[in-house]
């Protein structure tokens, strides 16, 4: 979505372009974290710690 917004192209067009790049090994497709991993306590703690650090220093 970021690429689509910055290129000012429809999201669907960027998906086709991205698929083409992946087919030619010019780009890596990285999936979002798999559903099971969203319960990973270490990941969640790192997210919480990271958010706390963001608050007004």
């Amino acid at each position: 979505m970021e690429a689509a917004a910055l290129l000012r192209l429809p999201v669907s067009a960027v998906l086709v372009l991205a698929a083409g790049l992946v087919d030619r090994d010019l780009a890596l497709a990285r999936a979002p974290i798999p559903p099971a991993r969203r319960f990973d306590p270490d990941l969640l703690k790192r997210v919480a710690d990271g958010l706390r650090d963001l608050k007004h220093r």
């Binding site: 979505m1 970021e2 689509a4 917004a5 910055l6 000012r8 192209l9 429809p10 999201v11 669907s12 990285r30 999936a31 979002p32 974290i33 798999p34 559903p35 099971a36 969203r38 319960f39 990973d40 306590p41 990941l43 969640l44 703690k45 790192r46 997210v47 919480a48 710690d49 990271g50 958010l51 706390r52 650090d53 963001l54 608050k55 007004h56």
Partner: protein, 208 residues
Amino acid sequence: MASATSSTVDARPGGTDIHLPDTARDLVKILVTGPFGVGKTTLIRSVSEIRPLHTEEQLTEASAQVDDLAGVRDKATTTVAIDFGRISLPGGIVLYLFGTPGQERFRPLWDDIAYGALGALVLVDARRIDASFDVLGLVEETGLPYAVAFNTFPDAPRHHTPDQLRAALDLEPTTPMVTCDAREADSSIDSLLALVQHLIDHRPAEHR
């Protein structure tokens, strides 16, 4: 309803570096939802390191007839506006926030957008509690863990106690309920923290 056919996006890159470092490893997603006008975009704008990117998806009615005697007839379309923002956290975590409309007719959108999300932050307007039931129903149907944040508006009634608000929304006792000012970064972060802490405290037993 058919899924989105086409969309255009409008980007307004901010002053900060918009490109992710190569070290970004974990991409996580939280949905920010609530009734129309409750402050989803405001909250995302308060915390996002990039200017919120705005995409408009067209949802097309699959059953609409294309041809009739007079020629091509308009399909019924709904435009769905989704704002999303990004927060880079230490350790290579990138948190994406998706401002997701909560109306029932956007259910097909939720099936896609909720996939892989950690959970949802549901913004509620204490002046319009009734407007929240649709979105709470959608979130619960999706099975996403969620926290509720009351975005404070100047003319919000002050006589509701937290217990009254919790009862009005028919929330589980374990659902976090906080107040926030979506215009303030720290307050918005606190709301996200309430959700994340809830996720930590209430993981399903088999994942401990």
